[in-house]
């Protein structure tokens, strides 16, 4: 989502559909937020750290963000490529509201923003109980000293307003407390029941402004909700917001559904189900709530994943005990076979530019990772470490491939470069399986059975290998797939 001057969209949105959310507008210029044209002294976050260089590198991108603002040096930065950095202290007071309803929404919105930022581990939202200044107007600069004394480096001041036409307006301003300047101001107008998405978008904007990377808070997770004894497990698709809110089932309890994945536009989910007993790949349309079998294949189809342009699904077809990878064009319904080998060939995943596919094959004797050109040519093995390598998933940034590694009776989630170098294990347990990337490629979600017999749960971990967290699901959960940023 870019900062734009386009009119705010007021399309109503139910949690179920994925119609475009509201677009932000630039907030009114703060009365006193005069941008000092003079060069500021660069404030280093960590003296001598790589962070400083990264801040510089990101300057060009920031200038674009500031194209609509008076030029200023952004010093409020958290580099997220580093393995360790103290999270940035940030103050997010409850958003201001003129009446009781607006105040309630303002409290809820600020709470969601704080939780989003806290989970990223790049920020440390401060306890609102300690705040000194009572804010009354989003466009009046805060008393910076009141926030400095709390050691806040950033301050998000916002306001919720019920508009005469029934819509809700959320505006906010991000302040650099030490630099004493406004670095971002945006507003959204939408239907009031959209307040959660607005909160996530505000958090995404703060994240983007300070880290220089796209956020991932206005997103959803689709996963397999599991219940019942292991021998008769019920597995249904469930979808929820990235923070666990708004969960609901997509498929019924009478048949097993597994391995869901989002389309690039977030409107379709492809998955495998045993509906009517036959295991096949399906498409689920979140707009219409309808599902359909994908293609009339002469055998079990499984392990589906969308092509990055959304116009094709790549999947495995088993015929007589031999699985091969196929590409199914969603417009022409033509299918093309991409592998031709008597081994297991499965778990295909496109590179984000669509030029290559990483997949899982046991053609070398054990399951390992292979990369091939999108047309099936040029197959080369990339995993050579200790153990068995499975479920490769190409990062949306293109620079890494996440995988499941089985070694020594344990399962790990790791990443390697597309040429197989730079392997790093991020997490390991009795069973860690099925990585899926956040849309900005900074966080990986997967499922874990922490010990033998423990039900699976969804966890996330930063690419740095830090910030391991269990996601909020009401039931046992597996096969998480992260959506792209919602439109």
């Amino acid at each position: 989502m870019s900062v734009s001057k386009s009119a705010a969209s007021d399309a109503p949105r139910t949690p179920r559909s994925g119609d475009p959310g509201p677009k932000p507008q630039l907030a009114r210029r703060s009365r006193a937020a005069r941008w000092t044209p003079a060069l500021r002294v660069r404030r280093t976050l960590r003296p001598g750290s790589v962070a400083c260089r990264l801040m510089f590198a990101a300057c060009a991108a920031l200038c674009l963000v500031f194209a609509v603002s008076p030029p200023a040096r952004a010093e409020l930065r958290v580099p997220i490529t580093e393995g360790h950095l103290d999270p940035m202290p940030i103050a997010v007071p409850d958003f201001i509201g003129a009446d009781e309803r607006a105040q309630q929404i303002g409290r809820d919105v600020a709470g969601v923003i704080r939780a989003d930022l806290e989970r990223s581990a790049l920020f440390r939202p401060l306890d609102p109980a300690a705040f000194i200044q009572r804010l009354t107007d989003v466009n009046i600069p805060p008393r910076f000293a009141d926030w400095r004394v709390l050691r806040a480096q950033a301050l998000v001041v916002g306001q919720a307003t019920m508009l005469p036409d029934g819509r809700l307006r959320i505006e906010f301003r991000l302040w650099d407390v030490l630099g004493e300047q406004s670095v971002l101001g945006l507003q959204f107008a939408t239907t009031p029941d959209n307040w959660r998405r607005i909160a996530h978008r505000v958090a995404d904007q703060v994240y983007k402004q300070i880290t220089g990377e796209e956020g991932y808070f206005d997103t959803r997770i689709v996963f397999v909700s599991e219940s019942g004894p292991k021998t008769r497990r019920v597995k249904r698709l469930m979808i929820m917001d990235q923070d666990g809110a708004n969960p609901f089932y997509l498929t019924g309890a009478s048949f097993m559904s597994i391995t869901p994945r989002f389309s690039p536009n977030t409107q379709l989910i492809t998955y495998m189900a045993y509906e009517d007993g036959r295991p096949r790949v399906y498409l689920f349309n979140l707009e219409t709530n309808r599902r359909e079998v994908l293609g009339d294949f002469p055998g079990m189809t499984f392990a589906p994943r969308f092509a990055p342009d959304g116009n094709a699904v790549v999947l495995s077809l088993d015929q007589g005990g031999n699985s091969e990878i196929y590409r199914m064009d969603l417009r022409t319904r033509q299918r093309a076979r991409l592998t031709d080998h008597p081994s297991i060939d499965t778990s295909p995943s496109y590179s984000p530019d669509g030029s290559r596919i990483v997949f899982n094959s046991d053609r070398g004797g054990t399951p390992q990772l292979y990369v091939m050109d999108a047309n099936g040519g040029g197959v080369r093995r990339i995993s050579f470490g200790e153990g068995r390598y499975m479920t490769p998933v190409w990062s949306p940034r293109g620079d890494l491939i996440a995988f499941t590694r089985q070694s020594g009776g344990r399962f790990a989630i790791g990443v390697m470069r597309p040429d197989g170098t730079g392997e790093r294990i991020l997490s390991e347990s009795y069973l860690d399986e099925g990585p899926s990337w956040s849309p900005n490629g900074r966080v990986i979600v997967f499922f874990r059975e922490a010990s033998p017999g423990a039900g699976p749960r969804v966890w996330s971990i930063d690419l740095t290998g830090r910030n391991l967290r269990q996601m909020a699901t009401q039931t046992d959960a597996s096969d998480p797939a992260w959506s792209p940023l919602l439109p």
Binding site: M300, D318, R388, Q406
Partner: protein, 170 residues
């Protein structure tokens, strides 16, 4: 039987003779007949050709080594019994389900389970069971028979399970 009829006739003749004699005597006891033949031993096992017969007397599962889909000698023996049974009951159709232990990923195990089901199916057809009577499915690691997480359970969960779909004696 013939001697018995002769005996009855002889007795009848004797009775008639005595009746002719006009003497009032106590009526003669009916001649004993043999008890009906002993019924064949009541079936202690399942009805032949039934689901239970297949399960108990033939064996419905064959087991595999870790990440293997080749048939061990014991597996071949069970499949040979299955094939003989299926030839004897030609209306029976089966579904062979391939299953895996939990030490693999979901997707890889779906493929591996399909391989196991196909290995069992192929051996049955090589033994003369028409392929159109056998369907296959893979459940990967999704339907363990033994819910535990140990070697014993995993050995049991790596199987091809022949289930009768239709045509069995009820």
């Amino acid at each position: 039987m013939r001697t018995r009829i002769a005996l009855i006739l002889a007795l009848a003749a004797a009775t008639a003779l005595s009746a002719c004699a006009g003497r009032r005597e106590a009526p003669a006891l009916p001649a004993p007949t043999e008890a009906p033949p002993i019924a064949p031993q009541a079936p202690s096992g399942p009805v032949a050709g039934s689901l239970e017969d297949f399960r108990v007397n033939v064996g419905e599962r064959v087991f595999f080594g870790y990440d293997r889909s080749d048939l061990a000698p014991e597996a071949r023996q069970i499949l040979e019994r299955q094939a003989a049974w299926l030839r004897r009951y030609p209306s029976v159709r089966i579904l062979v389900a391939g299953n895996c232990d939990e030490r693999g990923t979901r997707e890889y195990n779906l493929a591996l389970g399909a391989r196991r089901a196909a290995a069992a199916r192929d051996y049955l057809t090589s033994l003369g069971v028409p392929g159109n009577r056998i369907e296959t499915v893979s459940y990967g690691k999704e339907r363990p028979l033994d819910p535990r997480s140990n070697e014993e359970a995993w050995a049991v969960n790596r199987n091809a399970h022949s289930q009768i779909v239709s045509g069995a004696v009820s």
